[in-house]
Amino acid sequence: MIRNRNIFLFIAFAFCVIAVFFLQLILGSVSIPFSEVVSILIHNTSSSEAWRNIVLESRLPAALAALLAGAGLSVSGLQMQTMFRNPVAGPYVLGISAGASFGVAVFILAASAFGVTEIHLLSSWSIIIAAAVGAVFIFFINFLISFRLNDVVALLIIGLMIGGGISALIEIMQSFSSNEALKNYVLWTFGSFRYVDTNQIFYLALVVVIGVVFSFFLSKPLNLLLLGDTYATSTGLNIRVAKILIVLCTSILAGSITAFCGPIGFVGLAVPHIARSVFKTADHKILTPACVLIGAVICGLCNVIASTPGSDNVLPVNAITSLLGAPVVIWIILRQRKF
């Protein structure tokens, strides 16, 4: 009975993902009819060349990036909440986004010193590489710590401290920055799925798929860690190896997504809670695919809202995810604590 319910939910959410995918292609500054979108995707033809360009060059990569980012961030948030046994942990507790931000800040400042300040910079490979280098750097610090100490609380605190320290460094750098460089950096921290172009989306997809499959393989260690380190060890889990693999997996997912889309808040924190309460389970074999689907739907919707259908404005994705995510988390925590 429970199994049937889960299958029904998975199918329902899979349909939602497809619906949100098309919604992202249809809505935007101009609405493009569904039939035209389908014909562009399948036959690569449309009654309007402009529509074809908008869908293929701009909306399709952004739509895919949103689905991938939602899926990846939610899965890594799930891993962090389980590993730290803390409901408010998320993909960024290890300091990954702080590291990526630092890489980007250094890069934008350096670029402006050489007189490069175009907004176009934000969708270039160089910014992705800068963010990835920053994230990898932080990952190695975390890796060394988790290898040396077997203590997740220490890892959590050190992650937060690294984040704090790096924010301070970035603020110092900002005070020396030109206005253009400052604006570019702030735009990057807003988060956007539009920076990803048609070539880059392939690489993002590859990394996210690898990360998600990797995390599915970590289901058993994650399930054992639910009861804490001592029980996990006594049921045969080598927790040191397990934690290093989990940190690696989360870093791959959160690091690559932040590199391509900027920091996207709250999705990774809220979606695992939604998944747990919808599927009524703590089993990671179910929660991981559930987070993939629900995360994709939510990030896709946020992308639609951020594009403010019918107008030329674009809102910061980060603001939308926070506005949607914060009440969801509050609602879920209130609902769970009623007994």
């Binding site: 289901s219 058993k220 001592t230 006594s234 045969g236 389970t281 703590a282 074999k285 769970q336």
Partner: protein, 244 residues
Amino acid sequence: MKLKAEKLSIGYGNDNTIFPEISFVADEGEMIALLGVNGIGKSTLLRTISGLQKSVNGTISVGEKPLEGLTVQERAKLISIVLTEKIFVDNISVRDFVSLGRMPYTSWLGNLADEDLQEVETVMAIMKMQRLQAKLFNQISDGEKQKVLIARALCQQTPVIILDEPTAFLDFRNKKEILELLSSVSKDLKKIVILSTHDIEASVQYCSKCWLMTEEKKFVEIARSENFTSEVMSQLFIESNRHS
């Protein structure tokens, strides 16, 4: 299968030995109470026997196998534990919680095979907790939670089960129920059950012997006798008198 310790010293390295020279033999079917004042090293001893902590000196063996040198996976099939710390996990059913005890026997993905499901079923029946199985773990009482933790350990099918103060948060009725249950588990399933406790009067009558960790750092075994409880009490009393 026997659990043996020879000249075991526990603690954190040579400079920080908490309790020296512990030797004991426990046989299958025995339930043993580990007694001693707070801070004497009961938990450390239990952690050392469980393999969660290295011993300073000496050896522990289950059957013929010395514990040192076993992998965590091998150890998980010999010794299971029940801890005092409270567990908070949302959205996990009692059944799924108990099933986690089967993990040492499952493949890399942790899927339960038919024999695993069968074992979970059997343990639920032994513990008389079938009516609980669909409930959520965080919605049952403390006494029921303790039963779930014991059931999880039983599912691990280990010859040795170690419990750190299993009756600490329970009322009198629950204490009695848990102790009776552990006693019948040790006898019927031929397991070695070791539990630390401060509820001497309540627990000693169910045990086949007691291990006393005295304040003079002596490890004393008291075998079951006619006036078992009073003998244990007087031993404890003498020890504490001698100390003061």
